[in-house]
């Protein structure tokens, strides 16, 4: 609740992830050439990778600000379970970073010459997959919250955890764009997201308690 309002008021965090996503997508044709057939092939993967990086970029703000001003200590002694607090934080991160990325993806797909059948699937796969990115990222942020230069370490820790989500998510988008069956990867993606949402907050809270003491 407060996190949402804060993220909107601070402004920066909200727009920054989106702007980063835009920049990455725009840079891709510069690096691989303007051939539309090539771009169409790689478009789903590029959009997924861009979204993932934009998510990662905004993660260090997730807990670091609360750590610095001491609110985390206070939240940990509040009558709310820390698992719930972290779930809400992950939700706030998703609403301010993940959701805008989902909405922006089809627009950026145009720039990358995404095939017509792909728009639905890229949006759907990001919609299902980005919550997992936020929840996993929240775990990474909780692991590294007290550390100096934790941001870089967090990327190193979180990236391998993102592998399955990225593979299944990009697979849905890629198969969708090529008109192939998407049920299996879609189910797996949904499973990862639901599993992460259900279980990871416990790990995040455990880790955060260790970091607070």
């Amino acid at each position: 609740m407060r996190d949402l309002r804060l993220a909107f008021r601070a402004g920066g965090g909200f727009g920054l992830g989106l702007a980063f996503f835009l920049i990455v997508t725009v840079m891709v044709p510069f690096s691989v050439g303007p051939n539309s057939a090539t771009l169409a092939t790689i478009a789903p993967g590029v959009l997924w990778l861009g979204a993932l990086l934009a998510c990662l970029l905004s993660l260090d703000r997730l807990l670091a600000l609360d750590w610095e001003d001491g609110s985390l200590d206070l939240l940990a002694t509040a009558p709310l379970p820390l698992e719930g607090v972290l779930s809400i934080k992950a939700l706030a991160h998703w609403l301010t970073t993940g959701l805008p990325l989902v909405l922006a993806a089809p627009v950026l797909g145009v720039l990358l010459n995404l095939p017509a059948g792909g728009y639905l699937w890229i949006t759907l796969s990001l919609l299902i997959g980005t919550p997992a990115l936020s929840v996993i990222g929240c775990f990474g942020a909780a692991l590294t919250v007290g550390l100096k230069r934790g941001g870089l370490l967090m990327s190193l820790l979180v990236m391998p955890l993102y592998v399955p989500t990225l593979i299944f998510g990009a697979e849905v988008a890629r198969r969708g764009a090529q008109g192939m069956a998407v049920e299996t990867p879609l189910l797996m993606l949904g499973g990862i997201t639901l599993g992460s949402i259900a279980l990871l907050p416990f790990a995040s809270a455990a880790v955060l308690r260790v970091n607070l003491r």
């Binding site: 407060r2 804060l6 610095e68 200590d73 002694t77 607070l212």
Partner: protein, 203 residues
């Protein structure tokens, strides 16, 4: 209300205090004294449940403890009122008006916390304690950056809290004029652990 028996606490895996014991009844205040680095903050954090004790036990209702740290824990982009409302909702309180007036914050209620002076922020962060509605206050250097008038304001808030059946444990160096017991932590400084390297530890 809260009783501490044979408590040992550690900071960064090094024991700092041991055999701390006291008992606090409703309406009482306990003031911790001791030189810097003796472990006042560590003890308070342990009491608040933020870190596990090395040994000993803390008997009392954890759910009745409200903790105020060195840091103010304020969101600078939110207004004074919003900051208080956030914590009021977290702790299930209904009203923040009496708290605002008790800490003389009524005139500042719509100001963003970021525009307050250090002392005003401190007042706001102490006001947070009142909205928690909890009976045991744990205060770490509560009077830092407060001017004389604000210290008086704070002292009377504590007195009111005590006379309403609350209790307070605080680490502070100035005399608040509160009728509280003093606890000097220096005698509880942890002794050097023995060097026998045989009991499963590393020494």
């Amino acid at each position: 209300m809260i009783e501490v028996r044979d408590l040992g606490v550690s900071r960064g895996a090094v024991p700092v205090l041991e055999a701390v014991g006291f008992c606090l009844a409703a309406g009482e205040a306990l003031v911790l004294r001791g030189p810097n680095g003796i472990g006042k903050t560590t003890l308070l954090r342990t009491l608040a449940g933020l870190q596990p004790p090395l040994r000993g036990e803390i008997i009392g209702d954890r759910e009745q403890i409200a903790y105020a740290a060195h840091a103010d824990g304020l969101k600078l982009t939110l207004s004074v009122e919003e900051n208080l409302w956030f914590w009021a909702r977290v702790f299930g309180s209904e009203d923040i008006a009496p708290v605002l007036s008790a800490f003389n914050l009524v005139g500042l209620r719509t100001r963003p916390a970021g525009s307050l002076s250090a002392g005003q922020k401190r007042r706001l962060s102490l006001a947070r304690l009142m909205v928690t509605g909890r009976r045991i206050w744990i205060l770490d250097e509560p009077t830092v950056s407060l001017d004389t008038a604000s210290v008086q304001l704070f002292a009377s808030a504590v007195v009111a809290h005590l006379s309403a059946g609350g209790a307070a444990i605080m680490a502070t160096h100035i005399d608040l004029g509160i009728d509280g017991r003093l606890l000097d932590l220096a005698p509880f400084k942890a002794r050097l652990p023995a060097l026998d390297f045989d009991d499963g530890g590393f020494l």
